[in-house]
């Protein structure tokens, strides 16, 4: 009987120690994983860009379109931003531009790009 009580006490003590060790291990793991060696993303896709960077990218495409007048090239450049249609991407950027105070020239450039993208048909679709 005494030996059983002793073993019971030791077991509880062990459990506490083990629990403490587990918590210390978790803390060390978190410190290492989040502070010392956190995951660093270096190969992000453009569709993960923050909204303002994304808007600036679309604006650049619009500015280039002003002189190139090449809807196909503009559509290809916009396509890297995601699976949405180029017209939808431009429309949402235009909305962002109106909301955040882009200049009149920039808004006009985006408007011209939107017009082009709304009427744009990828090669092969309109050719039976």
């Amino acid at each position: 009987m005494p030996s059983d009580g002793y073993n019971l006490t030791m077991t509880s003590s062990n459990l506490i120690k083990i629990a403490i060790a587990v918590f210390i291990g978790i803390a060390l793991g978190l410190i290492y994983g989040l502070v010392i060696d956190p995951i660093e993303y270096t190969d992000a896709p453009p569709n993960a860009l923050r909204e303002d960077y994304r808007a600036d990218y679309v604006l650049m495409v619009a500015e280039a379109y002003q002189s190139e007048i090449d809807a196909d090239t503009a559509a290809r450049r916009l396509a890297v931003l995601g699976s949405e249609s180029p017209a939808l991407i431009t429309a949402s950027t235009l909305e962002y531009a109106n909301r955040t105070g882009f200049t009149q020239n920039e808004i006009q450039a985006l408007q011209n790009l939107l017009t082009a993208m709304q009427t744009y048909q990828p090669q092969g679709i309109n050719n039976p």
Binding site: V22, I26, L28, G29, Y32, G33, T42, P45, A48
Partner: protein
């Protein structure tokens, strides 16, 4: 009796610690990793960064806003943005892209290097789409604004300067940049002539480097000139101006030892046969492969 218990306890603690460590890492790396949304352009994948540069250069070619292009390039976090532009332009040419596609990148690199836009700024008029061209009867006055282009009949007879039958538009008339425009290709009838061929013996410089420097009649370096190098086993083509840090009219090529090359400036330029890397001797008497500098100039 106590020894095995102690060992057992220690092992249990170490094991528990490792389990905890593993759980912590799993949580921090898999369940709650760094947020992958709202990223900045600096962590884009390499090919998307290339695409980003292309769009920056295309936008710059349209707006000529050098400061804005510079700021946009800084977003990519490149240590040497100009060098990256040049390198990308060369990569594009090497992979068979046309010079016209690579030119905006090289142009932006050149302009960033020199600190000003090569092409005079011509403000983009967003109202010019579907706007009929100015016909010969249009009168353009000094007091006109951008959209004030009317027929003579409706023009008030101000005693101002009147241009008759001239293609000058109000925008062009307002352009006050006297610098010559960037001309990547030489005009017909203006061939380059070899005016200098110098041996370069500089220890430590790239071995067998064949350097080209192309200048116009006023000794201003000219970018965008195609050069062809041929030898018994192959041919290479490249353009001046893709290393703007070394000059807009600069290009180079690495020669191998014991190989005879011929260089030709495309579009009516000079032909230089029998080029080979010279042998130089350093102060210790050790021989090494030297370089050559070929200087071409339009007459």
């Amino acid at each position: 009796m106590s020894r095995p218990d102690f060992r057992s306890q220690t092992l249990q603690l170490i094991f528990a610690l490792l389990i905890g460590l593993g759980l912590g890492l799993v949580y921090s790396w898999y369940f709650a990793p760094v947020n992958y949304e709202n990223v900045n352009p600096a962590i884009l994948r390499v090919d998307f960064k290339d695409q980003y540069r292309v769009v920056i250069a295309a936008s710059y070619a349209s707006t000529q806003n050098l400061d804005r292009a510079r700021v946009r390039l800084e977003l990519l976090g490149d240590v040497d943005p100009v060098g990256e532009l040049s390198a990308q332009a060369q990569r594009m040419l090497a992979t068979g892209e046309s010079f016209e596609k690579a030119r905006p990148l090289a142009q932006l690199a050149t302009d960033l290097n020199q600190g000003f836009a090569s092409v005079p700024v011509v403000p983009t008029s967003f109202t010019t789409f579907n706007t009929p061209e100015i016909v010969s009867t249009v009168a353009v006055t000094e007091t006109q604004t951008e959209e004030l282009v009317t027929d003579e009949e409706t023009q008030t007879p101000f005693p101002t300067i009147v241009f008759e039958q001239t293609p000058i538009t109000p925008v062009a008339a307002e352009t006050n940049t006297p610098r010559p425009t960037f001309t990547p290709l030489p005009g017909p009838g203006a061939p380059f002539a070899l005016v200098g061929q110098d041996t370069i013996c500089t220890p430590g410089s790239p071995l067998g480097l064949l350097q080209f420097m192309l200048m116009d009649a006023r000794r201003k370096q000219v970018a965008g000139i195609e050069i062809t190098i041929t030898w018994s086993q192959g041919e290479d083509r490249f353009f001046t101006g893709f290393k703007p840090e070394l000059g807009n009219g600069y290009a180079d090529f690495v020669m191998q030892a014991d190989t005879i090359y011929s260089a030709r400036v495309v579009d009516g330029g000079a032909f230089v046969p029998d080029i080979s890397a010279p042998t130089c001797t350093d102060p210790n008497g050790i021989e090494y492969l030297g370089g050559l500098l070929l200087t071409f100039q339009r007459p």
